[in-house]
Symmetry: C2
Subunit: 375 residues, 2 copies
């Protein structure tokens, strides 16, 4: 039976919410194992969570996608005996490639204070043995190439290396639900991922314009599901044409087609707000960035979000395109998002870059009149 040690970061700060957060984290870890066809026992002790499993190697990568986890290490347990500890430390240092020119350190803790060797002594004994056996360079700083961890507990001692980074954030589900607009593009899946990272359960909403774009959006959601342990992503797919075509047709009839993108986005946000009400979500997530396309301006953002009753969460608003692309590549959505160019059939020749709320309200009134007259 193998063991994986999981460390959590931010939720350690959470005071009295800590118990509920930790419960959700363990639940999500169990969901992660199950969805990846793995079996294992999840327990926690002090500031750490452990997974006991026969499938350590297979479990590491999926577990590194559970939000709330800061880092992961596979662990070997040995007897509470200094010789056994030193032997296993040397074995792991060798596997880790310690040799002349490769620096290492031993980082021992002694949770069980009855163990006859104090931590610096364990460091010295194990470090000395590794140096003698493998001729690696001792480096007491954290910059060492290889760190061998030793934890002496009441019953057994744990030896580990290979600290994998977790994704950070908060356990998914602890911060409530949001509706996320998801397209086939680069930005919106990254925005949804960032809110998942901060503990939100995401309800994906896609407005379908054509089959290929919708296939891309659904693929993006599939990639996101590899991070959504404990909450199933159930996409709502609505027809884009049904949602916006009548409004846009009237806009063209009015000769106000430059407003098409603004009225389109307003309509989508109104639909998203209604879905929030229906499903108990408290915010709408968008992939809005600034200055990436001509119509992504602050004045337009003001007009688009005017009067929308749910908070609009734009986690990418302060990010550079290069940073967004890096995240898309990490999540896996970048290739999907770039495999074909999507162009909107309603896109006017010169979309407005500086709309005003007054004009928007005026045009809205005229659109309402036209609708009233059945045109």
């Amino acid at each position: 039976m193998g063991l994986i040690l999981l460390r959590y970061g931010e939720l350690a700060l959470k005071g009295k919410n800590r118990v509920a957060f930790l419960r959700q984290l363990r639940r999500n870890i169990r969901a992660c194992l199950k969805e990846n066809g793995l079996t294992g026992e999840v327990t926690s002790a002090g500031q750490r969570v452990y997974v006991e499993t026969e499938q350590v190697e297979e479990a590491l990568e999926p577990l590194s996608r559970v939000f709330g986890l800061a880092s992961l290490s596979p662990v070997v347990e040995v007897e509470r005996d200094i010789d056994a500890i030193v032997r296993e430390a040397v074995r792991q240092a060798e596997t880790a490639g310690v040799r002349p020119g490769v620096s290492f350190r031993v980082d021992a803790r002694r949770a069980d204070k009855t163990f006859p060797h104090i931590s610096p002594e364990i460091n010295r004994l194990a470090g000395g043995a590794i140096h003698e056996a493998l001729h690696g360079d001792v480096d007491l700083s954290k910059a060492a190439d290889v760190t061998i961890g030793v934890d002496v507990r009441a019953e057994r001692a744990m030896i580990y290396r290979n600290v994998l980074r977790g994704p950070g954030g908060l356990p998914l589900g602890t911060e409530g639900r949001v509706v996320a607009l998801i397209s086939g593009g680069i930005d919106s899946p990254v925005a949804a991922w960032m809110m998942m990272k901060r503990g939100c359960a995401v309800i994906p909403l896609h407005f379908s314009q054509d089959e290929e774009d919708t296939a891309k959006a659904l693929d993006n959601i599939e990639f996101l599901s590899h991070y959504s342990y404990g909450w199933r992503l159930r996409p709502t797919v609505l027809s884009h044409a049904e949602a916006v075509a009548p409004t846009l047709q009237r806009l063209y009839d009015l000769g106000e087609e430059r407003w098409a993108c603004i009225f389109c986005k307003r309509t989508l946000l109104q639909r998203a707000a209604a879905l929030c009400e229906e499903l108990g979500a408290h915010g709408i997530v968008m992939g809005d960035a600034l200055g990436q396309v001509a119509s992504q301006t602050l004045p337009n953002m003001e007009v688009i979000s005017y009067g929308i009753t749910k908070p609009i969460l734009r986690p990418l608003i302060g990010m550079d395109k290069a940073e967004i692309v890096d995240l898309a590549q990490r999540i896996g959505t970048f290739e999907t998002s770039t495999r074909s160019e999507h162009s909107c059939r309603f896109l006017p020749a010169r979309p407005l870059t500086r709309g005003t709320v007054e004009r928007m309200l005026e045009i809205s009134r005229r659109l309402d009149e036209m609708e009233g007259q059945g045109t």
Copy 2:
């Protein structure tokens, strides 16, 4: 006379806006030089901007804070002569510490195609000379410890090393104005900085609760001003008590003090929206994060922002606390923000964590009635 080569990133993509963006970037670079007591000529050619100055060393650090710049290199100009180029390349490699065990590469370009040596030949000649003189290890990949750049232009050749990273983003001022709520805390200055990075001109708004907290907020704004070249940060300071005390007093009278934080923040946002109207800004920047304090929940965010007419920009909403702290340290605001703990005198014993819009509107009506009765 010395020369600095400045590369810009994202704005290269901007199509027909590129000219205006580049003009703003040059203007901001000039403001940076001036505000740091430096003199220099700013010119651009192709995809690059140059600063010609007697004060290369002094100018590098301030220029590395101009948004829109991807990287900076001090440059030495030599004759368009292969021997002069090779000599200077060896000299710079020596200064950069190339020696046995330190890898290097030469990265030559030939803008002037009449120069008799093609780029790979310049790389080979200069690289060979560096290896012979300093015995450094040739590494043709970008992972080399030291890269010596060579640019052969029509009149002179440029040799450079030491690529400093710029802050990225878009030239400040190109994306319009926003009002940013700034406190003495960690988050709000980072949020403002991120929107500055995306090209926004920030109007800082601080609600003063006590002298010490206001001193911290003004210090934070002072740090931000070292990034706000081309736009002077002029803080608006309003009395927090004057803005919120009457409302909060009535809330306590109603026995609804658990709503204090929500009504306080609503009042501040309404003031911020009014300031936007007055000063032509199109959004309100807040340091909101999720789950960091008990009242920072999605349901509360919904209630707080309900009916606020300007878009609320929350660039930190998808970030971990550790990421926010890293940025605060980089900007310089972290120490200010943590030098004392600020506690609000209106803070109720158990602030609400899940308000609803209906309840908020109901309480609002009762507060309005009390105000009408002059209580």
